[in-house]
Protein backbone atom coordinates (compact mmCIF):
# COMPACT_ATOMS: atom_id res chain seq x y z
CA UNK A 1 0.00 0.00 0.00
CA UNK A 2 2.80 2.43 0.95
CA UNK A 3 6.23 1.71 -0.49
CA UNK A 4 9.13 4.04 0.18
CA UNK A 5 12.56 3.28 -1.24
CA UNK A 6 15.74 5.32 -0.64
CA UNK A 7 13.81 8.53 -0.02
CA UNK A 8 16.07 11.57 0.09
CA UNK A 9 15.06 15.20 0.61
CA UNK A 10 17.24 18.28 0.53
CA UNK A 11 16.27 21.75 1.72
CA UNK A 12 19.00 23.80 0.05
CA UNK A 13 22.27 22.15 1.07
CA UNK A 14 20.70 20.57 4.12
CA UNK A 15 19.85 16.92 3.74
CA UNK A 16 16.80 16.27 5.88
CA UNK A 17 15.96 12.71 4.77
CA UNK A 18 18.80 10.26 4.28
CA UNK A 19 17.52 7.39 2.15
CA UNK A 20 14.44 6.22 4.07
CA UNK A 21 13.02 2.83 3.03
CA UNK A 22 9.93 1.19 4.47
CA UNK A 23 6.66 -0.39 3.48
CA UNK A 24 3.29 -0.35 5.18
CA UNK A 25 0.88 -3.11 4.25
CA UNK A 26 -2.85 -2.95 3.59
CA UNK A 27 -4.97 -2.33 6.69
CA UNK A 28 -2.01 -1.69 9.02
CA UNK A 29 -1.63 1.20 11.43
CA UNK A 30 1.95 2.35 11.37
CA UNK A 31 3.37 4.81 13.88
CA UNK A 32 6.06 7.23 12.88
CA UNK A 33 7.96 8.00 16.02
CA UNK A 34 10.74 10.52 16.41
CA UNK A 35 11.83 13.65 18.19
CA UNK A 36 10.84 17.07 16.82
CA UNK A 37 12.81 17.98 13.70
CA UNK A 38 13.60 14.37 12.85
CA UNK A 39 11.95 14.52 9.40
CA UNK A 40 8.51 13.07 10.20
CA UNK A 41 6.46 15.93 8.73
CA UNK A 42 8.65 16.18 5.61
CA UNK A 43 8.17 12.45 4.99
CA UNK A 44 4.42 12.82 5.46
CA UNK A 45 4.25 15.81 3.12
CA UNK A 46 6.01 13.71 0.49
CA UNK A 47 3.66 10.75 1.05
CA UNK A 48 0.67 13.07 0.63
CA UNK A 49 2.06 14.49 -2.62
CA UNK A 50 2.54 17.99 -1.22
CA UNK A 51 6.31 17.93 -1.51
CA UNK A 52 8.44 16.32 -4.16
CA UNK A 53 11.27 14.02 -3.12
CA UNK A 54 14.84 14.96 -4.09
CA UNK A 55 15.56 11.31 -4.81
CA UNK A 56 14.08 7.86 -4.29
CA UNK A 57 10.78 6.16 -5.09
CA UNK A 58 7.53 6.63 -3.23
CA UNK A 59 4.47 4.67 -4.23
CA UNK A 60 1.02 4.83 -2.70
CA UNK A 61 -1.45 2.14 -3.80
CA UNK A 62 0.91 1.45 -6.70
CA UNK A 63 0.94 5.09 -7.91
CA UNK A 64 4.15 7.09 -8.03
CA UNK A 65 3.95 10.36 -6.05
CA UNK A 66 5.94 12.27 -8.66
CA UNK A 67 4.51 11.09 -11.98
CA UNK A 68 1.00 10.17 -10.78
CA UNK A 69 0.46 12.75 -8.06
CA UNK A 70 -3.23 13.27 -8.93
CA UNK A 71 -3.96 9.56 -8.50
CA UNK A 72 -1.96 9.52 -5.26
CA UNK A 73 -3.85 12.53 -3.90
CA UNK A 74 -7.20 10.92 -4.63
CA UNK A 75 -6.17 7.82 -2.65
CA UNK A 76 -4.74 9.72 0.32
CA UNK A 77 -6.40 11.62 3.15
CA UNK A 78 -3.95 13.93 4.86
CA UNK A 79 -4.18 15.68 8.20
CA UNK A 80 -1.13 17.96 8.61
CA UNK A 81 0.25 18.87 12.04
CA UNK A 82 -1.34 22.33 11.77
CA UNK A 83 -4.89 21.38 10.70
CA UNK A 84 -6.01 23.44 7.70
CA UNK A 85 -9.38 24.89 8.68
CA UNK A 86 -11.37 27.80 7.37
CA UNK A 87 -12.47 29.08 10.73
CA UNK A 88 -15.21 31.39 9.46
CA UNK A 89 -17.14 28.52 7.82
CA UNK A 90 -19.66 26.22 9.47
CA UNK A 91 -18.60 22.59 9.91
CA UNK A 92 -20.97 21.25 7.26
CA UNK A 93 -20.03 23.99 4.77
CA UNK A 94 -16.35 23.33 5.33
CA UNK A 95 -16.61 19.57 4.79
CA UNK A 96 -18.81 20.16 1.72
CA UNK A 97 -16.19 22.56 0.37
CA UNK A 98 -13.46 19.93 0.77
CA UNK A 99 -15.71 17.36 -0.95
CA UNK A 100 -16.14 19.80 -3.86
CA UNK A 101 -12.35 20.25 -4.03
CA UNK A 102 -12.12 16.48 -4.28
CA UNK A 103 -14.44 16.57 -7.30
CA UNK A 104 -17.49 15.05 -5.61
CA UNK A 105 -20.87 16.05 -6.95
CA UNK A 106 -24.60 16.04 -6.17
CA UNK A 107 -26.20 13.37 -4.01
CA UNK A 108 -22.96 11.39 -3.68
CA UNK A 109 -21.30 14.44 -2.16
CA UNK A 110 -24.12 15.03 0.30
CA UNK A 111 -24.05 11.38 1.29
CA UNK A 112 -20.26 11.44 1.76
CA UNK A 113 -20.44 14.60 3.88
CA UNK A 114 -23.19 13.14 6.12
CA UNK A 115 -21.30 9.84 6.48
CA UNK A 116 -18.06 11.62 7.41
CA UNK A 117 -19.72 13.91 9.94
CA UNK A 118 -21.23 10.86 11.56
CA UNK A 119 -18.00 8.85 11.40
CA UNK A 120 -16.06 11.63 13.13
CA UNK A 121 -18.84 12.27 15.61
CA UNK A 122 -19.38 15.96 14.78
CA UNK A 123 -23.05 15.82 13.72
CA UNK A 124 -24.06 17.77 16.85
CA UNK A 125 -21.86 20.74 15.84
CA UNK A 126 -22.47 20.54 12.07
CA UNK A 127 -24.07 24.00 11.90
CA UNK A 128 -21.59 25.71 14.19
CA UNK A 129 -18.75 27.95 13.00
CA UNK A 130 -15.43 26.05 13.04
CA UNK A 131 -13.55 28.87 14.80
CA UNK A 132 -15.93 28.70 17.80
CA UNK A 133 -15.35 24.99 18.46
CA UNK A 134 -13.04 23.46 21.07
CA UNK A 135 -9.67 22.17 19.93
CA UNK A 136 -10.82 18.56 20.12
CA UNK A 137 -13.81 19.26 17.90
CA UNK A 138 -11.66 21.27 15.48
CA UNK A 139 -9.29 18.32 15.20
CA UNK A 140 -12.23 16.04 14.41
CA UNK A 141 -13.48 18.49 11.78
CA UNK A 142 -10.00 18.49 10.25
CA UNK A 143 -10.14 14.70 10.26
CA UNK A 144 -13.46 14.95 8.39
CA UNK A 145 -11.69 16.92 5.66
CA UNK A 146 -9.12 14.13 5.35
CA UNK A 147 -11.80 11.44 5.21
CA UNK A 148 -14.63 12.85 3.14
CA UNK A 149 -13.44 11.28 -0.14
CA UNK A 150 -13.12 7.87 1.53
CA UNK A 151 -9.34 7.50 1.08
CA UNK A 152 -7.60 4.14 1.17
CA UNK A 153 -4.60 5.64 2.95
CA UNK A 154 -4.84 8.01 5.88
CA UNK A 155 -1.81 10.11 6.85
CA UNK A 156 -2.08 11.82 10.21
CA UNK A 157 0.65 14.15 11.41
CA UNK A 158 0.55 14.41 15.20
CA UNK A 159 -3.24 14.08 15.41
CA UNK A 160 -3.48 14.46 19.19
CA UNK A 161 -1.04 17.34 19.57
CA UNK A 162 -2.27 19.88 22.12
CA UNK A 163 -5.44 18.00 23.10
CA UNK A 164 -6.56 17.28 26.65
CA UNK A 165 -6.58 13.64 27.89
CA UNK A 166 -10.30 13.19 27.18
CA UNK A 167 -9.96 14.49 23.65
CA UNK A 168 -6.87 12.31 23.11
CA UNK A 169 -8.83 9.18 24.05
CA UNK A 170 -11.64 10.23 21.71
CA UNK A 171 -9.30 10.80 18.74
CA UNK A 172 -7.46 7.55 19.52
CA UNK A 173 -10.70 5.56 19.45
CA UNK A 174 -11.65 7.30 16.25
CA UNK A 175 -8.34 6.38 14.60
CA UNK A 176 -8.74 2.76 15.67
CA UNK A 177 -12.24 2.74 14.20
CA UNK A 178 -11.01 4.26 10.93
CA UNK A 179 -8.10 1.85 10.72
CA UNK A 180 -10.42 -1.12 10.30
CA UNK A 181 -10.76 -0.48 6.59
CA UNK A 182 -7.77 1.73 5.78
CA UNK A 183 -4.03 1.88 5.95
CA UNK A 184 -3.13 4.51 8.51
CA UNK A 185 0.24 6.10 9.06
CA UNK A 186 0.46 8.48 11.98
CA UNK A 187 3.33 10.45 13.40
CA UNK A 188 3.89 11.38 16.98
CA UNK A 189 6.62 12.16 19.44
CA UNK A 190 4.43 10.81 22.23
CA UNK A 191 5.39 7.19 22.87
CA UNK A 192 2.16 6.17 24.58
CA UNK A 193 0.22 7.52 21.63
CA UNK A 194 1.93 5.18 19.23
CA UNK A 195 1.75 2.28 21.67
CA UNK A 196 -2.00 2.77 22.04
CA UNK A 197 -2.90 2.94 18.36
CA UNK A 198 -0.26 1.32 16.16
CA UNK A 199 0.60 -2.21 15.10
CA UNK A 200 3.97 -1.28 13.59
CA UNK A 201 6.41 1.40 14.60
CA UNK A 202 9.10 3.17 12.62
CA UNK A 203 11.48 5.22 14.71
CA UNK A 204 13.04 8.07 12.77
CA UNK A 205 15.89 10.26 13.96
CA UNK A 206 17.89 12.90 12.09
CA UNK A 207 16.22 11.88 8.83
CA UNK A 208 17.20 8.23 9.16
CA UNK A 209 15.22 5.18 10.15
CA UNK A 210 16.63 4.23 13.53
CA UNK A 211 14.44 1.17 14.11
CA UNK A 212 11.45 -0.68 12.72
CA UNK A 213 9.46 -2.93 14.95
CA UNK A 214 6.09 -4.53 15.37
CA UNK A 215 4.35 -3.80 18.64
CA UNK A 216 2.74 -7.22 18.59
CA UNK A 217 6.24 -8.73 18.57
CA UNK A 218 7.20 -6.47 21.45
CA UNK A 219 4.16 -7.64 23.38
CA UNK A 220 4.98 -11.31 22.94
CA UNK A 221 8.64 -10.89 23.85
CA UNK A 222 9.53 -12.84 27.02
CA UNK A 223 9.94 -10.74 30.15
CA UNK A 224 13.19 -9.95 31.92
CA UNK A 225 13.65 -10.01 35.69
CA UNK A 226 15.22 -7.25 37.75
CA UNK A 227 17.02 -8.29 40.94
CA UNK A 228 17.78 -5.50 43.38
CA UNK A 229 20.63 -5.96 45.82
CA UNK A 230 21.30 -4.18 49.09
CA UNK A 231 25.02 -4.69 48.40
CA UNK A 232 27.35 -6.68 46.16
CA UNK A 233 25.43 -6.09 42.93
CA UNK A 234 28.59 -6.33 40.80
CA UNK A 235 29.60 -9.75 42.12
CA UNK A 236 26.00 -10.94 41.81
CA UNK A 237 26.03 -9.83 38.17
CA UNK A 238 29.18 -11.86 37.53
CA UNK A 239 27.63 -14.83 39.35
CA UNK A 240 24.46 -14.66 37.27
CA UNK A 241 26.34 -14.39 33.97
CA UNK A 242 28.00 -17.75 34.67
CA UNK A 243 24.69 -19.60 34.87
CA UNK A 244 23.76 -21.63 31.81
CA UNK A 245 20.05 -20.67 31.94
CA UNK A 246 20.91 -16.95 31.75
CA UNK A 247 21.07 -15.54 28.25
CA UNK A 248 22.29 -12.13 29.36
CA UNK A 249 22.57 -9.94 32.41
CA UNK A 250 23.37 -6.26 32.78
CA UNK A 251 23.24 -3.52 35.34
CA UNK A 252 19.88 -1.75 35.33
CA UNK A 253 20.23 1.77 33.95
CA UNK A 254 19.17 4.45 36.37
CA UNK A 255 18.84 2.14 39.41
CA UNK A 256 21.84 1.62 41.66
CA UNK A 257 22.37 -1.99 42.79
CA UNK A 258 19.91 -3.55 40.33
CA UNK A 259 20.59 -6.19 37.67
CA UNK A 260 18.41 -7.01 34.67
CA UNK A 261 18.47 -10.70 33.79
CA UNK A 262 17.31 -12.18 30.51
CA UNK A 263 16.70 -15.93 30.88
CA UNK A 264 16.79 -18.55 28.15
CA UNK A 265 13.51 -19.73 26.67
CA UNK A 266 13.61 -23.08 28.52
CA UNK A 267 13.88 -21.27 31.88
CA UNK A 268 10.31 -20.05 31.45
CA UNK A 269 8.94 -23.35 30.25
CA UNK A 270 7.41 -25.42 33.05
CA UNK A 271 7.08 -22.88 35.84
CA UNK A 272 9.12 -19.76 35.35
CA UNK A 273 7.93 -18.25 38.64
CA UNK A 274 9.15 -21.29 40.63
CA UNK A 275 12.49 -21.07 38.83
CA UNK A 276 12.82 -17.41 39.78
CA UNK A 277 12.02 -18.29 43.42
CA UNK A 278 14.63 -21.09 43.33
CA UNK A 279 17.21 -18.75 41.87
CA UNK A 280 16.43 -16.24 44.61
CA UNK A 281 17.14 -18.88 47.27
CA UNK A 282 20.44 -19.70 45.57
CA UNK A 283 21.38 -16.02 45.54
CA UNK A 284 20.55 -15.63 49.24
CA UNK A 285 22.49 -18.80 50.05
CA UNK A 286 25.41 -17.43 48.02
CA UNK A 287 25.49 -14.45 50.37
CA UNK A 288 24.01 -11.85 48.00
CA UNK A 289 21.62 -9.52 49.78
CA UNK A 290 18.58 -9.59 47.49
CA UNK A 291 16.27 -6.72 48.40
CA UNK A 292 13.68 -7.06 45.65
CA UNK A 293 12.58 -8.86 42.49
CA UNK A 294 10.44 -7.38 39.74
CA UNK A 295 9.45 -8.10 36.17
CA UNK A 296 10.85 -5.90 33.45
CA UNK A 297 9.39 -5.67 29.97
CA UNK A 298 11.46 -3.84 27.38
CA UNK A 299 8.82 -1.69 25.70
CA UNK A 300 8.78 0.72 22.84
CA UNK A 301 9.86 3.46 25.24
CA UNK A 302 13.17 1.77 26.00
CA UNK A 303 13.69 0.94 22.35
CA UNK A 304 13.03 4.56 21.40
CA UNK A 305 15.40 6.04 23.95
CA UNK A 306 18.10 3.48 23.22
CA UNK A 307 18.11 4.05 19.47
CA UNK A 308 17.90 7.83 19.74
CA UNK A 309 20.71 7.81 22.30
CA UNK A 310 22.97 5.51 20.29
CA UNK A 311 22.36 7.49 17.08
CA UNK A 312 23.11 10.77 18.79
CA UNK A 313 26.31 9.29 20.22
CA UNK A 314 27.36 8.16 16.73
CA UNK A 315 26.56 11.61 15.36
CA UNK A 316 28.58 13.25 18.14
CA UNK A 317 31.62 11.16 17.22
Amino acid sequence: MIEVRDLVKFYGDRKVLHGLSFTVGVGRVCGFLGPNGSGKSTTMDILAGLLGPSDGDVKICGYDVVTQSKEVKSQVGYLPDNPPLHREMTVVDFVTYVAKLRGMKGAARKQAVDRTLEECDVVDVADRVVGNLSKGYRQRVALCSALVHHPKVLILDEPTEGLDPNQIVHIRNLIQKLARERTVILSSHILSEVQATCADVIIINNGRIAAKTSLTEEETRRPQVVFSFASGADSALAWLREKNFVQGAKAHEGTVGAVVVDFREDFWEGGGAENVARLNSQLVQGGFGVSGISQHKAGIEELFFNVIKSQNQIAAH
Binding site: F10, Y11, G12, A48, G49, L50, L51, G52, S54, S69, K70, E71, K73, S74, V76, Y78, P80, N82, P83, P84, L85, H86, E88, M89, Y97, V98, K100, L101, R102, G103, K105, S145
Partner: protein
Protein backbone atom coordinates in the same frame (compact mmCIF):
# COMPACT_ATOMS: atom_id res chain seq x y z
CA UNK B 1 -13.83 23.25 -13.16
CA UNK B 2 -15.87 22.01 -10.21
CA UNK B 3 -12.93 22.64 -7.87
CA UNK B 4 -12.14 26.04 -9.43
CA UNK B 5 -15.70 27.20 -8.84
CA UNK B 6 -15.66 25.74 -5.33
CA UNK B 7 -12.56 27.80 -4.47
CA UNK B 8 -14.06 30.91 -6.11
CA UNK B 9 -17.34 30.47 -4.25
CA UNK B 10 -15.63 29.91 -0.91
CA UNK B 11 -13.37 32.95 -1.29
CA UNK B 12 -16.30 35.09 -2.44
CA UNK B 13 -18.38 34.10 0.59
CA UNK B 14 -15.31 34.49 2.79
CA UNK B 15 -14.98 38.18 1.86
CA UNK B 16 -18.48 38.81 3.19
CA UNK B 17 -17.82 36.66 6.24
CA UNK B 18 -15.04 38.98 7.41
CA UNK B 19 -14.88 42.77 7.78
CA UNK B 20 -12.39 43.09 4.89
CA UNK B 21 -14.99 42.72 2.16
CA UNK B 22 -17.43 45.12 3.78
CA UNK B 23 -14.77 47.74 4.55
CA UNK B 24 -13.43 47.59 0.97
CA UNK B 25 -16.96 47.89 -0.43
CA UNK B 26 -17.65 50.86 1.89
CA UNK B 27 -14.46 52.64 0.81
CA UNK B 28 -15.26 52.13 -2.86
CA UNK B 29 -18.82 53.35 -2.51
CA UNK B 30 -17.79 56.27 -0.33
CA UNK B 31 -15.18 57.37 -2.87
CA UNK B 32 -17.51 56.80 -5.82
CA UNK B 33 -20.39 58.63 -4.11
CA UNK B 34 -18.25 61.61 -3.14
CA UNK B 35 -16.72 61.78 -6.58
CA UNK B 36 -20.08 61.53 -8.28
CA UNK B 37 -21.41 64.34 -6.11
CA UNK B 38 -18.35 66.60 -6.55
CA UNK B 39 -18.14 66.18 -10.32
CA UNK B 40 -21.87 66.57 -10.92
CA UNK B 41 -22.23 69.48 -8.49
CA UNK B 42 -19.11 71.21 -9.87
CA UNK B 43 -20.26 70.98 -13.43
CA UNK B 44 -23.77 72.14 -12.66
CA UNK B 45 -22.71 75.13 -10.49
CA UNK B 46 -20.19 76.24 -13.10
CA UNK B 47 -23.09 76.15 -15.53
CA UNK B 48 -21.17 73.98 -17.92
CA UNK B 49 -22.87 71.67 -20.29
CA UNK B 50 -22.88 68.29 -18.64
CA UNK B 51 -21.89 65.41 -20.81
CA UNK B 52 -23.02 62.78 -18.35
CA UNK B 53 -20.94 59.98 -19.71
CA UNK B 54 -17.53 61.35 -20.50
CA UNK B 55 -17.42 63.84 -17.64
CA UNK B 56 -19.15 62.19 -14.75
CA UNK B 57 -18.71 58.49 -15.31
CA UNK B 58 -15.32 58.92 -16.96
CA UNK B 59 -14.02 60.70 -13.86
CA UNK B 60 -15.65 58.12 -11.65
CA UNK B 61 -14.22 54.97 -13.25
CA UNK B 62 -10.88 56.71 -13.92
CA UNK B 63 -10.48 57.59 -10.24
CA UNK B 64 -11.64 54.17 -9.08
CA UNK B 65 -8.89 52.62 -11.22
CA UNK B 66 -6.35 54.51 -9.06
CA UNK B 67 -8.08 53.58 -5.83
CA UNK B 68 -8.15 49.91 -6.79
CA UNK B 69 -4.35 49.76 -6.85
CA UNK B 70 -4.58 50.13 -3.05
CA UNK B 71 -7.76 48.14 -2.42
CA UNK B 72 -7.41 45.03 -4.59
CA UNK B 73 -4.10 43.85 -3.00
CA UNK B 74 -5.95 43.50 0.33
CA UNK B 75 -7.96 40.72 -1.31
CA UNK B 76 -5.06 39.03 -3.08
CA UNK B 77 -3.13 39.16 0.19
CA UNK B 78 -5.99 37.40 1.97
CA UNK B 79 -6.57 34.61 -0.51
CA UNK B 80 -2.91 33.85 -1.18
CA UNK B 81 -0.42 34.93 1.49
CA UNK B 82 -2.75 34.43 4.45
CA UNK B 83 -3.78 30.98 3.20
CA UNK B 84 -0.13 30.05 2.79
CA UNK B 85 0.61 31.32 6.31
CA UNK B 86 -2.40 29.64 7.96
CA UNK B 87 -1.82 26.38 6.13
CA UNK B 88 -5.29 26.31 4.54
CA UNK B 89 -3.55 26.30 1.15
CA UNK B 90 -2.60 22.71 1.99
CA UNK B 91 -6.26 21.76 1.67
CA UNK B 92 -6.15 22.73 -1.99
CA UNK B 93 -2.62 21.45 -2.54
CA UNK B 94 -3.47 18.00 -1.17
CA UNK B 95 -6.56 17.70 -3.40
CA UNK B 96 -6.21 16.05 -6.82
CA UNK B 97 -6.51 19.35 -8.71
CA UNK B 98 -4.06 21.36 -10.82
CA UNK B 99 -2.36 24.59 -9.79
CA UNK B 100 -4.34 26.26 -12.57
CA UNK B 101 -7.57 25.30 -10.81
CA UNK B 102 -6.30 26.80 -7.55
CA UNK B 103 -5.06 30.07 -9.02
CA UNK B 104 -8.06 30.30 -11.35
CA UNK B 105 -10.45 29.80 -8.42
CA UNK B 106 -8.79 32.55 -6.41
CA UNK B 107 -8.83 34.89 -9.39
CA UNK B 108 -12.50 34.24 -10.06
CA UNK B 109 -13.42 34.59 -6.37
CA UNK B 110 -12.02 38.12 -6.23
CA UNK B 111 -13.50 38.98 -9.63
CA UNK B 112 -16.96 37.81 -8.47
CA UNK B 113 -16.66 40.14 -5.50
CA UNK B 114 -15.68 43.15 -7.60
CA UNK B 115 -18.25 42.10 -10.20
CA UNK B 116 -20.96 42.51 -7.56
CA UNK B 117 -19.49 45.86 -6.48
CA UNK B 118 -19.35 46.89 -10.14
CA UNK B 119 -22.97 45.89 -10.67
CA UNK B 120 -24.05 47.90 -7.65
CA UNK B 121 -22.12 50.86 -9.02
CA UNK B 122 -24.40 50.86 -12.02
CA UNK B 123 -26.63 52.96 -9.76
CA UNK B 124 -24.65 56.03 -10.88
CA UNK B 125 -25.18 55.55 -14.62
CA UNK B 126 -28.82 54.73 -13.89
CA UNK B 127 -29.11 57.94 -11.90
CA UNK B 128 -27.60 59.83 -14.80
CA UNK B 129 -29.96 58.11 -17.20
CA UNK B 130 -32.93 59.51 -15.28
CA UNK B 131 -31.83 63.10 -15.88
CA UNK B 132 -29.95 62.87 -19.17
CA UNK B 133 -29.50 60.69 -22.20
CA UNK B 134 -26.19 58.94 -21.76
CA UNK B 135 -24.53 56.92 -24.47
CA UNK B 136 -25.00 53.41 -23.12
CA UNK B 137 -22.19 51.97 -25.25
CA UNK B 138 -19.69 54.40 -23.72
CA UNK B 139 -21.08 53.64 -20.27
CA UNK B 140 -20.62 49.94 -20.80
CA UNK B 141 -17.12 50.39 -22.16
CA UNK B 142 -16.19 52.44 -19.05
CA UNK B 143 -17.58 49.75 -16.79
CA UNK B 144 -15.65 47.11 -18.75
CA UNK B 145 -12.48 49.19 -18.31
CA UNK B 146 -13.00 49.23 -14.54
CA UNK B 147 -13.44 45.45 -14.41
CA UNK B 148 -10.46 44.79 -16.72
CA UNK B 149 -8.26 47.04 -14.63
CA UNK B 150 -9.27 45.15 -11.51
CA UNK B 151 -8.54 41.86 -13.29
CA UNK B 152 -5.02 43.03 -14.18
CA UNK B 153 -4.32 44.23 -10.64
CA UNK B 154 -5.74 40.97 -9.18
CA UNK B 155 -3.41 38.91 -11.40
CA UNK B 156 -0.37 40.91 -10.33
CA UNK B 157 -1.45 40.79 -6.67
CA UNK B 158 -1.96 37.01 -6.80
CA UNK B 159 1.51 36.56 -8.26
CA UNK B 160 3.11 38.66 -5.50
CA UNK B 161 0.92 36.85 -2.94
CA UNK B 162 2.32 33.47 -3.93
CA UNK B 163 5.84 34.71 -3.17
CA UNK B 164 5.35 35.40 0.53
CA UNK B 165 3.48 34.16 3.58
CA UNK B 166 3.73 37.56 5.21
CA UNK B 167 0.49 39.50 4.70
CA UNK B 168 2.07 42.95 5.15
CA UNK B 169 4.88 42.22 2.68
CA UNK B 170 2.31 40.78 0.29
CA UNK B 171 0.15 43.92 0.42
CA UNK B 172 2.95 46.49 0.26
CA UNK B 173 4.85 44.39 -2.29
CA UNK B 174 1.80 44.21 -4.55
CA UNK B 175 1.11 47.96 -4.37
CA UNK B 176 4.79 48.74 -4.92
CA UNK B 177 5.09 46.29 -7.82
CA UNK B 178 1.92 47.59 -9.53
CA UNK B 179 3.16 51.18 -9.29
CA UNK B 180 6.59 50.08 -10.56
CA UNK B 181 4.88 48.22 -13.40
CA UNK B 182 2.94 51.35 -14.37
CA UNK B 183 5.98 53.60 -14.17
CA UNK B 184 8.17 51.19 -16.11
CA UNK B 185 6.35 52.54 -19.18
CA UNK B 186 8.09 55.88 -18.67
CA UNK B 187 11.61 54.45 -18.77
CA UNK B 188 13.67 56.27 -21.38
CA UNK B 189 14.26 54.12 -24.39
CA UNK B 190 11.50 51.60 -23.61
CA UNK B 191 9.84 50.37 -26.82
CA UNK B 192 6.64 52.17 -27.71
CA UNK B 193 4.53 49.00 -27.61
CA UNK B 194 5.76 48.39 -24.07
CA UNK B 195 4.99 51.95 -22.94
CA UNK B 196 1.49 51.59 -24.36
CA UNK B 197 0.93 48.16 -22.83
CA UNK B 198 1.96 48.62 -19.22
CA UNK B 199 0.01 51.81 -18.56
CA UNK B 200 -3.22 50.09 -17.64
CA UNK B 201 -4.56 53.29 -16.09
CA UNK B 202 -4.35 55.02 -19.46
CA UNK B 203 -5.98 52.03 -21.13
CA UNK B 204 -8.76 52.21 -18.53
CA UNK B 205 -9.23 55.93 -19.22
CA UNK B 206 -9.52 55.19 -22.95
CA UNK B 207 -12.25 52.68 -22.21
CA UNK B 208 -14.08 55.09 -19.93
CA UNK B 209 -14.13 57.55 -22.83
CA UNK B 210 -15.65 54.87 -24.99
CA UNK B 211 -12.48 54.04 -26.95
CA UNK B 212 -12.70 50.27 -27.15
CA UNK B 213 -9.88 48.68 -29.13
CA UNK B 214 -9.10 45.04 -29.68
CA UNK B 215 -5.47 45.78 -28.85
CA UNK B 216 -6.50 47.09 -25.40
CA UNK B 217 -8.45 43.93 -24.67
CA UNK B 218 -5.49 41.85 -25.89
CA UNK B 219 -3.13 43.76 -23.57
CA UNK B 220 -5.39 43.14 -20.57
CA UNK B 221 -5.63 39.46 -21.50
CA UNK B 222 -1.84 39.26 -21.87
CA UNK B 223 -1.19 40.93 -18.49
CA UNK B 224 -3.70 38.65 -16.71
CA UNK B 225 -2.39 35.56 -18.51
CA UNK B 226 1.26 36.38 -17.81
CA UNK B 227 0.88 37.06 -14.08
CA UNK B 228 -1.52 34.17 -13.47
CA UNK B 229 0.94 31.92 -15.27
CA UNK B 230 3.78 33.23 -13.07
CA UNK B 231 1.64 32.70 -9.96
CA UNK B 232 0.96 29.13 -11.07
CA UNK B 233 4.69 28.56 -11.61
CA UNK B 234 5.45 29.74 -8.07
CA UNK B 235 2.74 27.44 -6.63
CA UNK B 236 4.15 24.50 -8.61
CA UNK B 237 7.66 25.29 -7.42
CA UNK B 238 6.53 25.10 -3.79
CA UNK B 239 6.22 21.37 -4.27
CA UNK B 240 9.83 21.26 -5.34
CA UNK B 241 11.23 23.78 -2.90
CA UNK B 242 14.86 22.93 -2.27
Amino acid sequence: MNATLAIAQRDFKGFFGTPVGWIAACIMFLVAGLLFYIVTFGLITRGQAVDPVSEILGSLTGFLNYINIFIVPIFTMRVMSEELAQGTYRLQASAPISSWSIIGGKFLGIMFFFGVIGLLMLVYPLFVAVFAQPDYKVMLSGWLGLILNIAAVVSIGLFIGTLTKNAVISYLGSVFFIILFLFSGYIQGAPEWYQRSVNILELGNDLSRGILKTSSLAIYAAICGLFLFLARLVLESKRWRV
